[in-house]
Each structure stands twice: as structure tokens, then as C-alpha cells.
């Protein structure tokens, strides 16, 4: 199940600082969109607004027919850190957002979702027993199990090593293929952006506005060595570099 996501003229200020200067964005059902841009430009803030965690902004955000006025179960979030509840087993962490989490149906659903992210054997484990990559996979499972129509990911793999990151990108794609949510991902990793996304949205430095949108035409499954992807990466780098020279240090 999936819905379109529509952002109209989103503006946001923190006191004197303008963070978002009128962002427009339309995301199709089941599309994967990557948001890239300079550090601290407001991409993460934008995700917070879409998630409903912060409702103080101007403009209009619509998930399908519903205007966002606060958190809603149709929108799932994976944060930069796993944020697992340390006192709950993995299975209980994943079941956290399920309304009927004690039921047999919910338990089966949790098992299945843990399988999708490759953690079927760790249902009883405690978060402290997991590696960083496993913990983030569990966080992904927790967001997926409620089958949100829109899934938001805020630099979900940024703290992981390169190998683990690539494995998790494939886990994410497998999960996306299984649940087909509309997916919006904030990332600083341009390889990640072109490997995962249907479209890459480039943001300016703060206050953020959309400066360019690049379509990634390659079919899935994609090859990370695909010259088209590498070419797009260069195009992204150039577009961002023009916007702000210091970015070459970030990527």
C-alpha cells in the first residue's frame, strides 16, 4: 500500500534563522527519492516536518489525501541512530508500534519482518548484543512492520562502515520491493543516492530550497559499477560544487 507525498511551499524558521525557504516536492507512490545537500541545510528538518514530529511550519504537506498535522501511523521513520529500546528484545522492539502486539498475527508479522532484514535468528536478542548494522536493520524492521505508506529515512546508514552500508542498502531495497512504501531518504553519500533513488533532489545551503532534481534511469537491480550511475554521481557533485565549494570536502 502506498500513497503520493506532496509538499507545497514549505517554510520553516528557528527564531531568527530561516531553515526552509519554500520547498516544493512531489513524490509518486512507491517512488524512492533521495535528498542531498550541504550539511545542516535543513533536509533533516524537512523530514521531521513530514513525520509530524514538528508541526510549526508554513505551507502544506499531504500524505495522500491527509494533510500532516502531527504523527500518524501511515508514516514510518528510521532515524540516524537505531534508537532501539534497550530493555526490549529485538522482537518486542519491532512489535513496538503494532496496535495488537500481543496477538499471534502480530507475532507472525514480526517474525516475517525480521526475516526480511535478515535478523530471523535474533528475535530474542537484546539491543546491547547487536552490532551497529544489525541494530539499524532492526530499526528498519520496526519501521516496516506497521506497513507505512510513506517511509522516511534520515541518514540511516551514515554511521556504518562502507561494507555494512552497502549490505544495508540492499536490505532496504529488498524491504522496499516487499512493502512498496513511498520512500524519502536523506543522505550525504552520493553513491547511496544514485544507487537507491529514482530521483535525487538537490538542496541549496541554508535556507534550503530545491536547486535541481536528477532522474536515475537505470533499472533495478542496479550495478554499483554501472557507468551511468557513476556519471550521475559526477553530475551531482558538480551541481553541488557549484552551489557551495566546501561540499567537495563533505563528499
Amino acid at each position: 500500500m502506498s500513497t503520493p507525498l506532496r509538499l507545497d511551499q514549505i517554510r520553516k524558521r528557528y527564531d531568527a534563522t530561516e531553515v526552509l525557504a519554500g520547498v516544493d516536492l512531489e513524490v509518486e507512490p512507491s517512488e524512492i527519492v533521495a535528498l542531498v545537500g550541504p550539511s545542516g541545510c535543513g533536509k533533516s528538518t524537512l523530514l521531521r516536518l513530514v513525520s509530524g514530529l514538528d508541526v510549526r511550519f508554513d505551507g502544506r504537506i499531504a500524505v495522500g489525501d491527509r494533510e500532516v498535522r502531527g504523527p500518524d501511523r501511515t508514516v514510518g521513520v528510521v532515524f540516524q541512530e537505531p534508537r532501539l529500546f534497550p530493555w526490549l528484545s529485538l522482537a518486542d522492539n519491532v512489535a513496538f508500534g503494532l496496535p495488537d502486539r500481543g496477538s499471534d498475527g502480530a507475532k507472525a508479522l514480526v517474525r516475517e519482518t525480521l526475516g526480511v532484514v535478515g535478523l530471523a535468528d535474533f528475535a530474542g536478542a537484546l539491543p546491547k548484543e547487536l552490532s551497529g548494522g544489525m541494530a539499524q536493520r532492526a530499526a528498519l524492521a520496526r519501521a516496516l512492520v506497521t506497513e507505512p505508506q510513506v517511509l522516511l529515512l534520515d541518514e540511516p546508514f551514515s554511521s556504518l562502515d562502507a561494507f555494512t552500508r552497502m549490505r544495508l542498502q540492499d536490505h532496504l531495497l529488498a524491504a522496499w520491493a516487499r512493502y512498496r512504501p513511498t520512500l524519502v531518504l536523506v543522505t550525504h553519500d552520493l553513491d547511496e543516492a544514485v544507487y537507491l533513488a529514482d530521483r535525487v533532489v538537490l538542496f541549496s545551503d541554508r535556507p534550503a530550497r530545491v536547486i535541481d532534481v536528477l532522474r536515475v534511469a537505470s533499472r533495478r537491480p542496479r550495478d554499483r559499477r554501472d557507468p551511468n550511475l557513476l556519471g550521475l554521481r559526477v553530475a551531482l557533485l558538480e551541481a553541488l560544487h557549484l552551489e557551495r565549494s566546501e561540499l567537495s570536502a563533505v563528499v
Binding site: S51, L53, V77, E81, F85, G97, K128
Partner: protein, 254 residues
């Protein structure tokens, strides 16, 4: 071998105790040797007095501890969760806390008489503050990012409190309960110094008046053993409920 390690120090203390009396460093009327203390305990037991002391003191501690920590649990939870209640209550609680709890004793005796009520109340006050202070601090320390996860699922404030805030502050609560329990033992002795007719604290003052050092040691040992046993029970509960913590303490268990 690790099981024996905790017993080395107590054994050494008993040996030192016994040795210092045997070699005449202390006279037997100042420091009775272990067999004399055991004999005094056996004698007290055969007359039914030791049992009565133990039951009386344990009863006061448990009763007072349960009342005090339950009150702290309720008030601490409300204060920790509600900014309004916290603003209204916290400054007063902080002020009350600075009064040494033992200073309440004369007032309680005056108000509540000399029977069970003031003793249990004093123990309850002793248990209350450590539990309250630790619980409120624990609730205030809960990781904001975990609460955000719960908010994403559109949970009510009550559900967030029950499913995130309370479990997250459990380590502090258990620390508070253990401190509260040891305070309870301290306060029961003080309570029994004033106008009690039974209990280990009464045994201490009573034997002081009759210059029975051996009976004083019976009282002291009884308090040491009871304090240790009850703390071990809470410690075991703590280990069971907090197995999830990623700390030096839980590393050995994992």
C-alpha cells in the same frame, strides 16, 4: 574460588576480633569473644526474646519501607512526568529533603505517641526520599530520542509514560529502592531507641543500660545480617530486571 572471595574479609575480621581478645588487646568485658556472643544469642533465643526482636524490627522495616517507597513511587512518577506538578512540588520537596530526616523523630513522637505509628512513619520517611529523588532524576534523564520514536507511532502521553519513560527510569528507581531500604534499617534503629519495648534497636539501648556488651553484639550482628539479606534480595531483583543494561555490572551476566 570466586564464590569464596566475599567471605575472606568477614573471616579475617572474625579472626582479628577473636585474636585481639585472646591475646588481651581488649578485655572480654569490652569486646566479648565470638563464642560468648553466640552463647548470648542462643540464650536470648531460648527465652523467646531474640525471635520477638527480629520479628518486631523486620515488621517495622517492611511496613515502613513499603509505605514510604509506594508514596515515593506515586509522587515521583507524577512529579517526573508533569511539568506543572513538578513546578508546584519540587522546590518544596527539595527543601524538605534538606531537613535531616532524623530531625523528624521528636515531632513524630509528640504527634503520634510512642507505639508503632511513629516508628513506622519514621522508617517510611527514611525510605521515601531516596526513592523519590532517584525516580524523579531517572525520569528527567530519559533519552528524548526514544520518546520521539514512540511519538512517531502516535502514542498517547499515558502510553509513552508506561511503555518508555517508566522502563527507561527503572535503573534509577531500583538504585533508589536499595538506598531507601538501607535508610529504613538506619531509621528503625533510631525509632527503637525511643520508647520501644522490643526490636533490635531496643536490644542495643537495653543492653547498654545493663552493660551487656555481648547482647549489644547480638543486636549489631542481627542488624548487619538482616540488612545484608534484604539488600541481596533487592540486588537479585535488580539483576533480573536490568539484564538489558549495557554496563560493567551486566557484562559479567551476559
Amino acid at each position: 574460588m570466586r564464590r569464596l572471595t566475599p567471605w575472606i574479609l568477614p573471616a579475617a575480621i572474625v579472626a582479628l576480633w577473636w585474636g585481639s581478645v585472646a591475646t588481651g588487646v581488649f578485655a572480654a568485658y569490652q569486646l566479648p569473644p565470638p563464642p560468648v556472643v553466640i552463647e548470648a544469642a542462643a540464650n536470648l533465643w531460648s527465652r523467646g526474646l531474640l525471635q520477638r526482636d527480629l520479628v518486631t524490627t523486620i515488621g517495622r522495616v517492611l511496613f515502613g519501607f513499603v509505605i514510604g517507597s509506594t508514596a515515593a513511587l506515586v509522587l515521583g512518577t507524577v512529579t517526573g512526568l508533569s511539568r506543572k506538578v513538578s513546578d508546584a512540588v519540587e522546590p518544596t520537596m527539595q527543601a524538605l529533603r534538606t531537613v535531616p530526616t532524623l530531625a523528624w523523630a521528636p515531632l513524630l513522637l509528640l504527634w503520634l505517641g510512642i507505639d508503632e505509628a511513629p516508628k513506622v512513619t519514621l522508617v517510611a520517611i527514611g525510605a521515601f526520599f531516596p526513592v523519590y529523588v532517584n525516580l524523579v532524576a531517572g525520569i528527567h534523564d530519559v533519552d528524548r530520542t526514544l520518546i520521539e520514536v514512540a511519538r512517531v507511532y502516535d502514542l498517547s502521553s499515558a502510553a509513552i509514560a508506561r511503555r518508555v519513560v517508566i522502563p527507561a527510569s527503572l535503573p534509577n528507581l531500583l538504585t533508589g529502592l536499595r538506598l531507601g531500604l538501607s535508610q529504613s534499617w538506619l531509621f528503625v534503629v533510631v525509632a527503637e531507641f525511643f520508647g520501644a519495648s522490643a526490636g533490635l534497636g531496643f536490644r542495643l539501648t537495653d543492653s547498654q543500660q545493663s552493660s551487656r556488651v555481648d547482647l549489644m553484639f547480638v543486636g549489631l550482628l542481627g542488624l548487619a545480617i538482616l540488612g545484608k539479606v534484604t539488600d541481596m534480595i533487592l540486588h537479585a531483583i535488580e539483576d533480573r530486571t536490568l539484564r538489558w543494561r549495557d554496563t560493567i555490572a551486566t557484562q559479567a551476566l551476559a
